[in-house]
């Protein structure tokens, strides 16, 4: 079939074989988070990179998925496999409802409104202590299991999370290359022009906002079951900015770019252990540098840089 499918298969094989190379160990745990972050980055990228609508509140949707799954399974002893889709449905419905008024706004105003939304959600996590456990968090969330097989080790979680992440990638690749994807890019370039050729821009934006919230919510549920503990601090404004950084660094509108951004930002702090508190300086600096010098992100910036270097050397040879 197409080149896209081949690319995806190659990526999937790499992902599935990676544990053989790392043989368990601490890095496996980090790679589980790369998977969760990849899902989140792809969710946000759908909105920001394809539809051109910014959100600074996606950590809120991530948190809602995590808390809904956590509360239903830990407090009310639901089956996790039932709680996860219900959480996704609720979060998606909420996003759909908020989407209509919020996506009427554009640019800076949209950024501020989504930011406000995220902070309100964060405050609710902190204040509804009876439900969420408040600032000290919610513990005792069960690991996922199928029959008697429980996903309780890093390697098992790795395969679980990455198979769902790969599914998400396949889904979004398909979506991006479909009629919907083309309509989204049209809205991104010019909403007026898209409307003129018959795209229901308003509904489309809201639908993609909801889809992106659903993806974030599923990532949240997976996060809750992997960590077996959630606390509001993981879902604050800083995490929304971190997600934004992943998408921008990887490259707007590129699915593999989102993976690259997520992997880089998840692995970087691990290598910068000593500088743990200072990672926010690095995020801030990276965000600014990328927008200034590599607005297309790593996926486009690196090939450009490479071409420039090759051409530069070629020129020297002739002279």
């Amino acid at each position: 079939m197409s080149r896209d499918l081949l690319k995806f298969l190659a990526f999937a094989v790499l992902v599935l074989l990676a544990p053989l190379y790392f043989k368990g160990g601490y890095l496996m745990n980090v790679l589980v988070f790369v998977g969760i972050h990849t899902m989140l980055a792809i969710g946000l990228n759908l909105l920001l990179g394809y539809a051109g609508q910014i959100s600074l509140g996606h950590a809120g949707f991530f948190g809602m998925g995590a808390y809904l799954s956590g509360i239903l399974t830990a407090t009310y002893a639901w089956n996790p496999w039932l709680a996860m889709p219900l959480a996704a449905l609720l979060v998606g419905a909420l996003a759909f409802m908020i989407g209509f008024p919020i996506l009427k706004l554009k640019g800076h105003y949209l950024a501020m409104a989504t930011l406000g939304m995220g902070i309100i959600i964060y405050i609710v996590f902190n204040e509804t202590i009876d439900l969420t456990g408040g600032p000290s968090g919610l513990s005792g969330i069960p690991s996922l299991s199928i029959g008697t097989f429980t996903f309780d080790s890093d390697v098992k979680n790795y395969y679980l999370i990455w198979s769902i992440t790969l599914g998400t990638i396949l889904l979004t690749l398909n979506l991006a290359n479909s009629r919907v994807g083309r309509a989204l890019r049209a809205v991104h370039d010019s909403e007026v022009a898209a409307r003129v050729v018959g795209v229901n821009a308003r509904l489309l934006k809201v639908q993609i906002f909801a889809l992106s919230a659903v993806i974030s919510s599923v990532a949240g549920s997976l996060y809750a079951h992997t960590m077996t503990f959630v606390a509001p601090a993981s879902f604050g404004f800083n995490f929304s900015v971190e997600l934004l950084t992943m998408v921008v660094i990887g490259g707007l509108g590129s699915i593999y770019g989102s993976f690259l951004g997520a992997a880089l930002l998840t692995l970087l702090p691990e290598f910068l252990r000593a500088a743990h508190d200072y990672d926010i300086i690095i995020y801030g600096g990276l965000l600014m540098l990328m927008v200034m010098f590599m607005p297309g992100g790593l996926v486009r910036g690196i090939p450009d840089l490479f071409r420039m270097l090759v051409k530069g050397r070629g020129g020297d040879g002739h002279a």
Binding site: P101, K106, A113, M117, I281
Partner: protein
């Protein structure tokens, strides 16, 4: 609910509201001159307080000398920010501007954490802290300082925008940047001016509030967002509408915290923000003249 309690909440709400108003005016000035919402606005508020502390404690200056130095230092930071982050931007689309000002704010916050640590610091009040009693409610001298300085700044601002050449040029830019350029106004200089004025105003706000609320490397986020709420209520005006917006927000927040729940205090501001954006994006007092894009 007793009257004196209501009065108490309203009075303390007014002084925080004045702070929001100053920050909000800073947002509006930059927005009107450039079309940018400067997400780093709150960081200049934080820098005002932290620089005052630096001049007070490290350079052992008296308070009256430390304050102007701190305002000057924050203003230089604002200029640098415009020169190094905003001006070189090759594709100034709204999303890129949002991202770069967010990046800038994180960077400034991170560097401040590096320089001053994570502790909360206090600045001494300007003239003692003997409470003054008004009709059963008590306020601190610092509350009066805040209100007086805010009124002063609003008047100076008004004078600048309506009675000086550069103020008028700035207003021209806010109506139509291209036309302003055509009649010989150096638009890029006006952009720089707008950053200078609003970082100075942000710093003043940060300095006058610090004796009441303490200051730390991360106070800028919330203050900046609340200031933005004030500006939105005021319809991004750099005059009285934003002042009223700030005061309204301050009082509502204070009453909400006192009468409903202090935990949801911050949520109140953001719910107001969302409601205004959804229902009246042109601000409470504005006419729906153009789409805010």
């Amino acid at each position: 609910m007793q009257f004196d309690q209501l009065l108490q909440y309203s009075l303390s709400g007014l002084s925080t509201g004045a702070i929001y108003a100053l920050i909000g005016i800073g947002f509006s000035i930059i927005y009107n001159a450039t079309g940018i919402i400067n997400f780093a606005q709150g960081e200049f508020v934080m820098l005002g307080g932290m620089f005052t502390l630096l001049f007070l404690e490290t350079f052992k200056l008296p308070l009256w000398a430390a304050i102007p130095c701190a305002i000057a230092a924050s203003t230089v930071a604002g200029m640098l920010f415009e020169r190094l982050a905003i001006r070189p931007l090759r594709q100034p689309t709204p999303i890129n501007l949002v991202i770069i000002t967010i990046g800038g704010s994180i960077l400034i916050r991170g560097l401040s954490m590096l320089a001053w640590g994570k502790d909360t610091h206090a600045i001494p009040p300007f003239s003692g802290d003997d409470p003054i009693s008004i009709a059963g409610a008590t306020i601190l001298p610092q509350h009066l300082w805040i209100l007086a300085i805010t009124i002063l700044i609003v008047f100076v601002n008004r004078f600048y925008f309506y009675h000086t050449i550069s103020g008028k040029a700035m207003r021209a830019c806010s109506y139509n940047r291209r036309a302003a350029g055509l009649v010989g106004i150096d638009v890029r200089r006006m952009v720089l001016f707008s950053f200078i004025i609003s970082s100075a105003m942000g710093a003043v706000a940060g300095i006058i509030v610090a004796p009441l609320t303490m200051t730390a490397y991360d106070v800028g986020v919330m203050l900046g967002l609340k200031g933005f709420c004030a500006a939105i209520i005021g319809g991004m005006s750099s005059g009285m509408a934003t002042v009223v917006g700030g005061l309204l927000l301050g009082v509502l927040e204070s009453l909400g915290a006192g009468l409903i729940s202090s935990g949801y205090k911050d949520a109140i501001a953001f719910i107001i923000l969302l409601l205004i954006l959804f229902i009246r994006p042109q601000g409470l007092f504005g006419k729906a003249e153009s789409e805010r894009v």
